[in-house]
Symmetry: C2
């Protein structure tokens, strides 16, 4: 059974009169999440933010913005539409809607162009592709009304594909519990001081939200043998920490390939001799964001065997 | 407008009593091609084979077998089903059905698993994936009844993505004629002695069949800016010619990345320092074919700009 791990991503920044956004009632967040056919599993909060763990990924809410990530066949565009309808386009300062290239796009309810056209009808914007059509790429719709990002507004996504076989063996153990996964990732060591909320799916799969002041990180694992995938996203100053955190995560998971996507993080990453950068897109959006999309690959020296589909038998 | 260049491929080997297969009446080939919603544009023949140029790619017919390639949204599975119904599964010695990973699979009428299940209901077989789900891969259904390939039965496919900008500029010139394209590829020089049949599509796109005795080669170009693609396939002894031909074609088109898929061709290819092999699958099928699927990438040192979708405006 194939599961499209790659998350769709929605970020919305509201105008002053709707801040603090996290003070919206719980019923509002429940309704927002229902729109995309996901459900809220649990939540944590501190004085700066609110973080929901969803049946398909995560929702974070701050003073001025929200970030929503959903995977599988969820209809994140419906949540975007619901939010715009409720608040009104004039009360939204900036909106980003992002979709990674999908390997089974026929299982998705809509495609990116349909989603972007719908959004463009509600709030003027433009649609971009970062990366090559015939390789990894991500597609991004963003509003074009004048906007200037705050200094702290940076994000880094690390999307990892086909982890080392031992890692996949571990992550697909059906009796795995959250303590074992936290220990495996050494979250306490590499990301100290975060309040954590996590969930282990059956037969496997794992989601985690971590918050500390305004900082967040989130991890989602879909270890299925046909398409093993782990995503990590954060607003930490990764650039200034000399990529130490990304290196640590890559050493733990040893993926065959990975994407690094950043907003307003200008450091050049260096992943040494093991990985080669086969895609790099770098651009400045008129609304004040520098975006980078990179795809790194290992050289394959030892040929693999074919994968035999079991579904036909 | 996106066009899925990657071809679906069907190869069928018939039993002795239906040979020579190329003696089937023209009406049969017309009907076979109609099934997948393509049409025959022209044909050439010699004493060994018959080659049709199609509105979406090619059909070759020999004494014992046929090879059919169709791109875009064609329903090649319907042609396979039609052929099996007409001849009967007992009169087919071997069947291969292959689909490359598609980047807009939601535009396709069926997916590979559906096609493989349909075929498996008509003739027992197995379905394979060669390559990683999260990178380039091809999917292959083949029958499992006992079979032993003839010595000459080898093929090599070279599938090239994102050719050099000057090459794309040339291939998307709307007034381009066949002589200019033949000259550009230097077909007469690199593949001498072939009888050629080619067609220039409007506004652009090009297909060519070449035959010489039992040898064939075929070239299909979809140079569209969102997904530039050129495929080359042949049964020539490329392995033994020290890859000269593949190198020549790569030098002409200078793609950003390419796949090489071979059946019964054991030579190790070497594409030097320019390209790195990021995927290599190597296996032996029980029905006597050694298959290799390889994907090569360039290192990207100079970042690209984003691609802006024009469709929304």
């Amino acid at each position: 059974m194939f599961f499209e791990g790659a998350e769709k991503k929605l970020e919305i920044i509201v105008s002053k009169e709707h801040q603090p956004l996290y003070q919206q009632p719980d019923s509002f967040w429940e309704e927002l999440v229902q729109q995309c056919e996901a459900t809220i599993l649990s939540s944590i909060r501190n004085e700066k933010q609110l973080a929901f763990l969803l049946s398909e990924s995560s929702l974070f809410v701050w003073d001025d913005r929200l970030l929503m990530l959903t995977c599988g066949q969820t209809k994140l565009i419906k949540s975007a539409q619901f939010f715009i309808d409720k608040f009104g386009a004039d009360h939204i300062d900036c909106l980003f809607f992002q979709r990674k290239n999908e390997y089974r796009s026929h299982l998705q309810p809509t495609d990116f162009i349909q989603d972007a056209k719908l959004l463009d009808g509600l709030m003027e914007g433009e649609a971009l592709r970062l990366g090559k059509m015939h390789s990894h790429h991500t597609q991004l719709f963003h509003t074009t009304k004048a906007y200037e990002p705050i200094d702290e507004d940076r994000t880094c996504e690390l999307l990892m594909y086909d982890m080392a076989p031992e890692v996949i063996d571990f992550l697909t153990r059906e009796d795995l519990n959250r303590e074992e996964i936290r220990e495996f990732f050494q979250f306490e060591k590499i990301l100290p001081g975060f309040q954590l909320d996590d969930f282990v799916f059956k037969p496997y799969g794992y989601s985690l939200n971590g918050i500390r002041g305004e900082d967040y990180f989130t991890v989602h694992i879909t270890p299925q043998e046909t398409s093993p995938y782990v995503s990590f996203e954060t607003n930490l100053k990764i650039c200034e920490k000399s990529q130490v955190l990304l290196h640590q995560i890559l050493e733990i998971l040893r993926p065959f390939s990975f994407d690094v996507m950043t907003f307003n993080c200008s450091t050049e990453f260096d992943f040494g001799q093991t990985y080669m950068k086969t895609i790099h897109v770098k651009d400045s959006l008129a609304i004040g964001y520098d975006v980078h999309f990179r795809y790194y690959n290992k050289k394959m020296d030892t040929p693999e065997k074919v994968y035999r589909y079991k579904e036909l038998i």
